[in-house]
């Protein structure tokens, strides 16, 4: 890159997503909700557990989607925030004896703070630099968790075992099913929060920054504040997901939160469609079920399958599930007219 070129070329703008295109219509949302509520009534406990994980990763992908799709920033370090959330919940439950439901807001707040602080230096960086800094964060996280100083709290390399909560009020439900509905309620709440956040003044500020930073600051948007805020909100939601993940898996250990997790979440976002919130659940399904299938064929194959599929997505359907959904919608529209 020459000096001359550097001056004239702008950072390529992320393609603008119209606001309405970021969510589903009412009808589709209700159908989806009904499916999610009814699903566990018909399947075995293990599948309920997988559905719970689907929602949890869906939340984590949603968080990344707010950051990237909303404010146009990158993060390859979501696994670090997920890990912090998971550890916060686990430590509060096992060492402090706090109720599992109460640990989640704490995990969210701790991660919001962590993300906000990490976002402080990150907001000065753009594009590749931000990707680099978050990549380094994700790589360093497992080592930080293993540190001897915190071993009393974190359990070091062994990690911590978390007890699974029973259904409250004597409800006739298995633990898995209760946890599923508990997760579902939180997911819906966070989804509604996210949709409203993106519709609000702050959300419009995020999108203005994404589309053109200079124009945004000319309109009086405090670019630094909103960029850090986006980072903080994203980290906070990821932290809640991490806390839920720790409760569902009943175990936290440093090696569960490596760069592989960050890559999976990133992949989930790309597959689901950047900036399309409902796509998060599609992306999450992808990152949960594809490795299972791949591992069934050969152990250690999941990385290769992930990679190849990711290339297919970016070459063939660069807008991910959103593109597929739009094409499907148009097809249905055509059929109706005929």
């Amino acid at each position: 890159m020459s000096a001359v070129q550097e001056v004239v070329t702008e950072a390529p703008a992320v393609e603008a997503v119209p606001k309405r295109a970021m969510t589903l219509g009412y009808g589709a949302s209700l159908i989806m909700l009904a499916l999610l509520i009814a699903a566990p009534l018909f399947v075995k406990n293990f599948i309920i557990f997988q559905l719970t994980m689907l929602l949890i990763y869906g939340l984590a992908v949603l968080a990344l989607n707010i950051l990237t799709g909303g404010s146009g920033q990158f993060s390859l370090g979501q696994s670090a925030f997920y890990a912090v959330g998971a550890y916060t919940s686990a430590i509060l439950m096992e060492h402090v004896g706090m109720n599992y439901a109460l640990t989640l807001p704490v995990a969210g707040i701790v991660c919001f703070g962590f993300g906000f602080l990490f976002g402080q230096p990150a907001l000065r960086l753009s594009g590749v630099y931000l990707a680099l800094a978050t990549f380094a964060l994700a790589t360093a996280m497992p080592q930080l968790l293993k540190l001897g100083y915190f071993e009393h709290w974190t359990g070091g390399v062994q990690g911590l075992v978390v007890t699974k909560p029973d259904a409250p009020f004597g409800l006739p439900m298995s633990q898995d099913m209760w946890l599923y509905y508990f997760t579902l309620a939180i997911t819906i709440a966070i989804y509604i929060f996210s949709v409203n956040l993106l519709k609000s003044r702050s959300g419009r500020a995020f999108m203005a920054i994404r589309d053109n930073e200079i124009a945004a600051s000319a309109m009086g948007i405090d670019v630094a504040l909103y960029k850090t805020l986006a980072f903080g909100v994203s980290a906070g939601i990821t932290g809640v997901a991490g806390g839920l993940g720790a409760i569902a898996v009943q175990f936290v250990a440093p090696d569960g939160y490596t760069i592989t997790l960050a890559i999976s979440l990133f992949l989930g976002m790309v597959v689901g469609g950047v900036g399309w919130l409902p796509g998060s659940i599609v992306g999450s399904a992808f990152i949960i079920f594809v490795p299972n299938i791949a591992e069934g064929i050969s152990k250690g194959l999941s990385g290769a399958v992930f990679g190849v599929l990711l290339f297919l997505v970016i070459f063939l359907v660069p807008h991910g599930a959103r593109q597929v959904a739009i094409v499907a919608q148009q097809l249905i529209g055509k059929l109706k007219r005929n």
Partner: protein, 292 residues
């Protein structure tokens, strides 16, 4: 004092590896303006390839040369097949591409060669170098090979037609095209050379960190740290950054209490963030200027 000198020399030896990785990263960054997150995995794959050649009975230095050629061709092929079509795509797509490449290479290496840790031979031996206790022959060999490589690269870029064409294509693509340089192939060539340089780093560090699919994770982070410290736009900076980071890592590990091997990666993270906050352009890089 002896400990100090010892640590400095050991730092220079590992710094040589970081310098190679940083140089490889910077070469690709110069060519296409993206960071190659898969650089470490490419180097790891090359190292496994050379190990396989040696298992088949090919002597070390022949395996070394064949691996260099293999890596070069591999780098060119990756550029032609995967990243050339993405040249105009947004930055997110490119990052996704590198991440995908990372996952594929890591997983395929695990499939072919297994995730168990393997010994890797060194042609230099590990006895004390020239009878001194300060540095082992392998460490001296690491420094020697790297310095030799750097001199070769310097002559290539400074005094050959091809080197000049590559520099021209990296600094002013439009003008380079006007004087008849095939800039697209220069980018591919840059990829090939970066892959080959990376493979040298992998082969030299493998006897130290042992051979396994995740061996380059830490090395790559330090390579990034070196590239950022030196400035992503400066190959010279990358090399200097590499040596500095190597020395820093060793001295921090020796003299700061509580900082041992278990804090290796967090130190690199702290280094990267500090440089990006304090001096984002690095020591030798050009500050980024943006037109409003």
């Amino acid at each position: 004092m002896e400990l100090f000198t010892n640590q400095i020399l050991a730092g220079i030896a590992t710094g040589a590896i970081y310098a190679c990785m940083a140089l490889a990263v910077v070469m690709i960054y110069q060519a296409i303006d993206h960071l190659n997150f898969a650089q470490g995995e490419m180097a790891m794959f090359s190292t496994f390839f050379s190990w396989q050649l040696m298992q088949w009975g090919i002597p070390y230095w022949w395996a070394f040369l064949i691996t260099l050629a293999f890596s070069f061709v591999g780098g060119v092929l990756i550029e032609r097949l995967l990243f050339k079509p993405l040249a105009k795509a947004p930055i997110l797509t490119n990052v996704a591409g590198f991440i995908a490449l990372f996952a594929i290479i890591n997983s395929v290496a695990g499939l072919i060669w297994d995730f168990t840790i393997k010994q890797y031979p060194t042609p230099f031996g590990s006895s004390p170098f020239l009878g001194s206790q300060l540095i082992s022959t392998h460490q001296a060999g690491m420094i020697g090979v790297t310095v030799g490589l750097l001199i070769l690269l310097y002559f290539f870029f400074q005094f050959t037609r091809m080197g000049l064409a590559m520099r021209a294509a990296a600094s002013l693509p439009e003008s380079a095209r006007l004087v008849g340089i095939n800039t697209s192939w220069m980018i591919a060539l840059g990829w090939g050379m970066a892959a080959a340089i990376g493979s040298i780093a992998g082969i030299l560090i493998a006897p130290v960190v042992f051979l396994e699919p995740n061996m380059m994770g830490g090395v790559l982070i330090y390579g990034f740290a070196a590239a950022v410290l030196g400035g992503l736009t400066s190959p010279l900076g990358a090399v200097v950054g590499g040596f500095l980071v190597g020395i820093f890592e060793n001295l921090a590990g020796t003299y700061i209490p509580g900082v041992g091997n278990e804090l290796k990666l967090p130190i690199a993270l702290a280094l990267i963030i500090t440089v990006l906050v304090v001096k984002p352009a690095g020591l030798f890089g050009r500050p980024i200027v943006k037109r409003v």
